[in-house]
Symmetry: C2
Subunit: 250 residues, 2 copies
């Protein structure tokens, strides 16, 4: 039975899993779980992942969630995945686990909360929270500095000084790609100072093309949609403020 990947490409860890499968020639069926329709909370999907989150996979009798766990599993369970993605060497593997663990409470938390509280919230029926956005930006910028000064400090092009990407590069770069949804001003303020990070994103992209670009296409579409929604909202707010002002002048 073919591997099933439950995903929404709007989710950065979903994209990491999809790209990993495609780059490594893992045969899989992609099953769309639409977050905007809250399909991840359906009883049917909760049979797959009781946490109600994407991505999740089903491989034979195994149901699995948490994208890092999925990437590690796929690297070990499918033949033909090159060693650099998740090296057999116990020390190199340890360093990858260390970066992936760090990711949860740092880059991930900062990036996801910043994107949510500056652009995504209204599309999910939530309010924007400028204070949460400000705190998230701090965590995000610190995380990018750490990546730049600690894990990309060597001569290698990838995390931990490697010359080929690992699952940690893929996971973290997909997270940062979520910043494509931001305004150009926000994005360049945050990413601008980190030249090595920018080069590393490009290198990871090049190493996983064309699958990387194909999986990220959705971000450009959604960005356009968000911009239209924003302008409609701004127009309707302007109209209602004109209506409020006009009667008082009559």
């Amino acid at each position: 039975m073919k591997l099933k990947v439950y995903a929404d490409r709007m989710s950065q860890p979903s994209r990491a899993v999809i790209i990993f499968c495609k780059v490594n020639g893992i045969d899989f069926e992609e099953i769309k779980v639409e977050l905007s329709k809250r399909q991840q909370l359906s009883a049917e999907f909760k049979e797959i992942n009781p946490m109600g989150k994407v991505p999740a996979i089903v491989d034979g009798r195994l149901k699995l969630f948490e994208s890092h766990a999925i990437l590690i599993y796929l690297a070990g369970a499918f033949p033909g995945v090159a060693d650099h993605w998740y090296p057999a060497d116990v020390s190199r593997r340890a360093k990858i686990h260390s970066v992936l663990d760090w990711h949860h409470s740092n880059l991930r938390r900062g990036a996801a909360s910043f994107v949510l509280n500056t652009v995504l919230a209204p599309a999910l029926g939530l309010s924007l929270n400028p204070q949460a956005a400000a705190e998230a930006e701090k965590l995000l910028s610190t995380s990018l500095s750490i990546i730049e000064s600690i894990w990309l400090k060597g001569n290698g092009r990838f995390l931990l000084g490697g010359f080929q990407p690992s699952i940690a590069d893929l996971s973290l770069v997909c997270e940062i790609m979520q910043l494509e949804l931001l305004s150009e001003e926000d994005r360049s303020r945050i990413l601008g100072p980190h030249k090595k990070v920018q080069q590393w994103i490009q290198d990871t992209r090049n190493a996983t093309r064309p699958h990387f670009d194909e999986a990220h296409n959705i971000l450009h579409k959604v960005k356009t949609k968000l911009a239209v929604q924003l302008s409609v909202r701004a127009n309707s707010e302007m109209e209602s403020s004109i209506k409020r002002v006009l009667p008082s002048k009559m």
Copy 2:
């Protein structure tokens, strides 16, 4: 050269690493990094872990931080660690990674923030934040419900239905043990409804005795110290309010 473990037993992941080494007969040197003295931020320690956090290890040329990464490394690099701690079977291993990944943004975040914002903050020179405590309690309680209803739902005594503990049991139970620092009222309100969780804590404790109790001794000492500080603070506040009241009556 002997394995070096840099730790403060007040840190729950530090205890998990120390207990793991002792239970598995791994020969190590424990090097205390006192969080209350901010030793984790010293230039010397940052040579070991640039993130300025404990635990961290040095094993030969390898410097490693993040407790889950450390536990996985130790299980693989040292002979004689029983398979149940970190099974060779790729599916069982995947489930352990999944629980450990989930831990970061759920149980860990809830428990650590609740303990910080109800009892620990003043000892670290910070203010208690009741709103953050309330949010943390919600996340903590949801996390305990998930452990009870999903991962302890089988007949096994440990996470994922096992009959022997894994590194995930050890990591998560050490996290929950941090609740020993709370008032009895808070602790029983939060843990009371979760009978399976209570039994699982006891089972993990039994499986790792006497090292479990020895590593957790510090919590009882610190709890007494916090209670004394609290009563001194309450007395001095009472005295100053009496002083404020008395002159106005005179």
